[in-house]
Symmetry: D4
Subunit: 160 residues, 8 copies
Amino acid sequence: MSNKFRLDEVDHQILDMLIDNTRVPFTDIAKKLLISAGTVHVRVKKMEDAGIIMGSSLTLDYEKLGYSFIAYVGVFLNNTSQTKFVLERINEIPFVTVAHVTTGKFNIFCKIRAKDTKHAKDVIFMIDDIDGVYRTETMISLEESINDKKRLMHTIFKDI
Amino acid sequence: MSNKFRLDEVDHQILDMLIDNTRVPFTDIAKKLLISAGTVHVRVKKMEDAGIIMGSSLTLDYEKLGYSFIAYVGVFLNNTSQTKFVLERINEIPFVTVAHVTTGKFNIFCKIRAKDTKHAKDVIFMIDDIDGVYRTETMISLEESINDKKRLMHTIFKDI
Amino acid sequence: MSNKFRLDEVDHQILDMLIDNTRVPFTDIAKKLLISAGTVHVRVKKMEDAGIIMGSSLTLDYEKLGYSFIAYVGVFLNNTSQTKFVLERINEIPFVTVAHVTTGKFNIFCKIRAKDTKHAKDVIFMIDDIDGVYRTETMISLEESINDKKRLMHTIFKDI
Amino acid sequence: MSNKFRLDEVDHQILDMLIDNTRVPFTDIAKKLLISAGTVHVRVKKMEDAGIIMGSSLTLDYEKLGYSFIAYVGVFLNNTSQTKFVLERINEIPFVTVAHVTTGKFNIFCKIRAKDTKHAKDVIFMIDDIDGVYRTETMISLEESINDKKRLMHTIFKDI
Amino acid sequence: MSNKFRLDEVDHQILDMLIDNTRVPFTDIAKKLLISAGTVHVRVKKMEDAGIIMGSSLTLDYEKLGYSFIAYVGVFLNNTSQTKFVLERINEIPFVTVAHVTTGKFNIFCKIRAKDTKHAKDVIFMIDDIDGVYRTETMISLEESINDKKRLMHTIFKDI
Amino acid sequence: MSNKFRLDEVDHQILDMLIDNTRVPFTDIAKKLLISAGTVHVRVKKMEDAGIIMGSSLTLDYEKLGYSFIAYVGVFLNNTSQTKFVLERINEIPFVTVAHVTTGKFNIFCKIRAKDTKHAKDVIFMIDDIDGVYRTETMISLEESINDKKRLMHTIFKDI
Amino acid sequence: MSNKFRLDEVDHQILDMLIDNTRVPFTDIAKKLLISAGTVHVRVKKMEDAGIIMGSSLTLDYEKLGYSFIAYVGVFLNNTSQTKFVLERINEIPFVTVAHVTTGKFNIFCKIRAKDTKHAKDVIFMIDDIDGVYRTETMISLEESINDKKRLMHTIFKDI
Amino acid sequence: MSNKFRLDEVDHQILDMLIDNTRVPFTDIAKKLLISAGTVHVRVKKMEDAGIIMGSSLTLDYEKLGYSFIAYVGVFLNNTSQTKFVLERINEIPFVTVAHVTTGKFNIFCKIRAKDTKHAKDVIFMIDDIDGVYRTETMISLEESINDKKRLMHTIFKDI
């Protein structure tokens, strides 16, 4: 697309290092790539301004924090004109970490994290009780085996 | 649980700041919490050693990077004894960012990111062609409306 | 059936040529079939009057025109008495190219063409928002592998 | 996209006239658009060479021809690696007019036209008997209410 | 069960003959079973009075009569309290030959016979339009391969 | 259809009387229709020879005979090429009174009558154990509310 | 049924008392019913010999014992002829407390109790790995709201 | 868990004996475990006070009592906020012996016992007619093959 920001080889290598550790000092990146720390700073700033880097987040061990219950909740609406309103209500429930408007049988598809079965029931009932939600269907995760965007990121930067 | 690492109020406040920006300097955290930078360092180190902080990752705008196609793929296996083997093969496909062993009709449930419909077809076929995979069913995301674990993290730290 | 228009061998041969190229001059058809161009004209006119030939249409490459997204949308109505009304509303959406009243779980089954995922969402929401439409379910085409009525037409004319 | 052929206003108007009647003489188009017939010819040739115009087809009344039975057949494969092979076999059945590789529960989704219930059974059994086809599910059309790409074409040309 | 009418060997043999041909003269039955025609008459009368023989019906060839289209229609009600009312309305549609209150996803399950696809649509819409009917799902018969209660009847009489 | 036997008004009236009682003497029919008993005989013979009247059957009260359990069994085959073979095996089970080749999710759809839940299980297992049967799904009838082809027959004869 | 053991009013009253507390002394029952303890003993013995009283069991609080996870597991078999074999294998898994041969989509339907999600996964995989089990589908209980056969027992004894 | 009552080896052995026969005299238990009957009494009392032993119940042969029909009924609610109200209504129907709030397609999942098909229909209709119940789906048990919590109890006590 014409409006796609053009990243060059240096940008890719900077991203490739930050992906593995967002806290790596810019001077380390500079040394590795044989450029100045100022250049690293400018490049990162440019990618932030272009909206490519939207921020950074911690990867925590939710199980150690007592939040080991993961479920996917499919939401049926009474009418799709309510999609925006319902998403705003869902957005107020912090235990919903992901939500998509989807094709197929569900109107909205959410991922939730909860402490245990009882807590999951409470979260599901919060979603169920939103005006315009007609019914939900839940699928429980027995084990989160992969949760890793880094492989994708590295592939993207190799690929471009 | 008895084996749950005990975080105190200071740990929570440190995490609360890092969640919003993993690159915030420890000196800034120290100033805000009226403790020494060394203390921040020690606390973060301790949480890393305990496995609570597993790392950090960039939040990139995938659409700007040309990867705007998201789908959920439900995988049926011939036999659940193949679960581990199939997950290892799925793990070699970088376009699969999440995979769960689930209850309900699917054995494994994946989230994929692709460039477009054609690319998505290729990724789905890669999964389909793994030995032991019997069939897949795909649900397309029309819009990723929420993807935000920060609200959950803040809730957890307020809650504990 | 008694009310079925009787086509003879010459009609079939004329149709067989027009099927492959609707713009072939009647004089070419006449030469090939060893009849007069006037006869070709009369026969075609007769088949048009009988309603067998309903018209002709261009076959365009929708992908080259930026419309590469195809989906099938199953529509559930609140009540089948609304079928006619809903079909009239659907008929006002140019991105719906085919619609059937069907047996099975859907009341109406549509084929849509859109520019991309976002546009498809808009088209699906247009259908969803019609009065009397209770819910829709969408199936995305990953590849249109066959779209060819000519084989059928040739078979029909060989068969009759 | 950079490789998209650029159509100008004149091309659109030519297409707009051909869409309604592929047999309209180029001299009529020329007169209407106040250009020369040679220009019309050149433009059409250019659009054919660019692959935008792929051909033309007759619109016949299938009911009058004794082919009033329409069904959609969803095909499950044993393995998606067989998709190409099965599509080639399906392509040999003239009563299949459309076939898509799809997401959702089916691997391939076909539209068929048949003479009546008995003939439809034969066509469905032909598909079922292809090596690699594991199962099919059929949805019968009770009425083809819309089958019209002209509205879409006009919209595309107004839109571009 | 204590309230079950007791049939003896002679009754069974009489029924066994009538099952194959309801018009067989009682004198023929009498001769075959070495009893008097009066006894046959008395026995049949007794079985009619006991409600075991409820009547007799012709077996016609529906295809020859132009009614070759068979479908099964599953009916969902808004509320099961409407079951009796809806069955009375269904009973007014002569094209419904069988109707059951069922377990599983449908509330009522019907068998219909119609002239062709168009007529089937009309019959299905009649059912759909009954007050209290919320939705229907139809399954088309491609071929009625078995329709024969005589084997069952013979088995019952051998079995008792 | 050209090969459809033509029934006249008298044939209809004869059928209309026989439908209600197959044992009504031809002399009674003759008297009612003001024709000779010989004519009735000739007409009935002609309809039997033409295959329109295929026979007659008793209507028994299955509940009184201890066969009150009715179920519908949907059969999935490994391959539709086995349809004929499986139907022949099903035909050997007297408790299956109806079987159809169907569209939709099932390959074959049967109606069974059994003594009780235990017996139904045995019958379902007989079907399940036929070579080529891959799986079955059963729907229990809670009440047979309509089982009456006479209304349809009368409608047909009024209609023709 | 003729083979049904006949319980009289005294038996019912004895059962009614034992249902609420299996450990109530026979002397207490005797006093309440104004009969001798010997009679109570004889009656209970007779009901045990007739197989009506099959035993007694403790009602434990599974949550307090660390087994708070309940799920229903639907089992699909490759072939119903394996039903007996698979049930014997299932019977060796103590975490399966109930199993039924069922109609509908499942061949066998089980209730399991586990310690938590991880343990439930292990139990489900034990079932999945039995020879002849083709696939399972699991439904998680969020809350066991009713588990009480006493109301039924009292109703039965009032009813008889 | 910290709030879990601690059972020692003696408690386990006592429970292990009571599980097999709730009416076993405490003196027998005492003799077997080489402790005093008073100790048995104290231990049982303590486990009852802690809520671990909630009571005892008879195991009756429901088939001998004329209640041989078992079904599972999935209940869909109009809205999950009605869950508590509907469960209270369900609790008034003695033929419902178990009810769960569940994930997946049903809101509430019940087990019922009835006399026969007719009675089951009545029970299902009682559930269907509760305010807030939108629809039910029933699965019939053809055979209750396992119903035994004793294996689980023994496993728990061996395991702790």
